[in-house]
């Protein structure tokens, strides 16, 4: 009997409480932008626009850029 009572609680997924927006916002602002900067360097630097001169960054991640679907050349 104890098992049949325990069964529904075991199969029902525990839904954790919502995280308050105030707790997420600072992390999202700082790390969200940092992550986008990383994606920019993998995906677009020294292609359409350049932060650094030359083509070293572009050439280094060349294959990844093609295979990850970013426009290259």
């Amino acid at each position: 009997m104890a098992q049949t009572v325990a069964q529904p609680t075991a199969t029902t997924p525990a839904v954790p409480a919502k995280l308050p927006l105030k707790a997420i916002a600072p992390w999202a602002a700082f790390f969200g932008i940092l992550m986008l900067v990383l994606l920019y360097f993998v995906g677009a630097e020294q292609g359409a626009t350049s932060v650094f001169n030359g083509t070293d960054v572009h050439e280094w991640v060349h294959d990844a850029r093609h295979l990850l679907g970013f426009p290259c050349h």
Binding site: A2, Q3, A6, Q7, T9, A10, T11, T12, P13, A14, V15, P16, A17, K18, L19, P20, L21, A23, I24, P26, W27, A28, F31, G32, L34, M35, L36, L38, L39, F41, V42, G43, A44, G47, A48, T49, T55, D56, E59, W60, V61, H62, D63, A64, R65, H66, L67, L68, G69, F70, P71, C72, H73
Partner: protein, 249 residues
């Protein structure tokens, strides 16, 4: 407490992204690199001017590829973890694992598949260097539009759910997403810069491998991050408890 949870999830997201990046790197090396090499061979055979190599091919296809794919994995892992913090408990009655897999499936679709169907990945020698600015703008625009539309569709679904029920609210939201994406496909400019005699089979294999890499990345991320999030948020997994309790009696 809550801020610490966000930080813990962010760290786990970046680690899961790194792990998924390793899997994607294996897929990229085994499935993608042969097509890249063939496309470069085509390029060399058809262009008369030979550019000086800044980075050798052997470095580009190993260390360079690894840098790009792993950074991509970590960066998207971090962004997905932040999106997960927001989605958790807000999109519906899903546990951490289901939320993570749902989120990463949606990310694969909106961040990659939707832009890919309009502006697919291209191997070397496909693409005019003079139009790189236009193509980059269009690609990122399509990506941004797709993500915004997916967020909009999710909000629409949540609004409709009390009246239509979860099933039909989801159907309507997905249909609305598909229709607006279809309109965007129709009205955004076409890009077709495939050289006349470029092998069609090679282009197809390259694009399939690009799709495979993303599927491995997001599939791996959803499973890995879901497991880490589950252990963090529900320290005693329901399944393990169910297994040990009958044994104890």
């Amino acid at each position: 407490m809550n801020s610490a949870t966000v930080r813990n999830l962010l760290v786990r997201g970046m680690l899961a992204g790194l792990a998924a990046g390793v899997l994607a790197l294996i897929a990229a090396y085994l499935l993608g690199e042969p097509s890249v090499d063939k496309a470069i061979a085509f390029e060399d055979a058809h262009s008369h001017e030979h550019e000086m190599e800044v980075v050798s091919r052997s470095l580009q296809s190993t260390a360079g590829l690894a840098t790009g794919v792993l950074v991509y994995g970590v960066a998207f892992g971090g962004i997905a973890a932040l999106a997960f913090c927001f989605a958790m408990g807000r999109v519906g009655r899903f546990g951490p694992r289901a939320t993570a897999l749902l989120l990463s499936g949606s990310a694969l679709l909106t961040v990659y598949v939707v832009p890919f169907l309009k502006y697919p990945a291209n191997p070397p020698s496909v693409g005019d260097p003079d139009t790189i600015s236009k193509r980059t703008t269009l690609y990122f625009l399509m990506m941004l539009l797709s993500v915004l539309l997916a967020v909009g569709a999710t909000i629409l679904g949540k609004r409709l759910a009390p009246g239509l029920g979860n099933w039909w609210a989801t159907v309507v939201a997905v249909a609305a997403f598909a229709v607006v994406v279809g309109l965007a496909y129709e009205f955004l400019p076409v890009v077709n810069e495939v050289p006349q005699d470029f092998p069609a089979a090679l282009l197809w294999r390259f694009r399939l491998s690009a799709l495979a890499i993303q599927s491995v990345l997001w599939g791996g991320f959803g499973l890995a991050f879901g497991e880490l999030a589950e252990r963090l948020l529900n320290p005693r997994p329901a399944k393990a408890a169910g297994r040990t309790v009958p044994a104890a009696h």
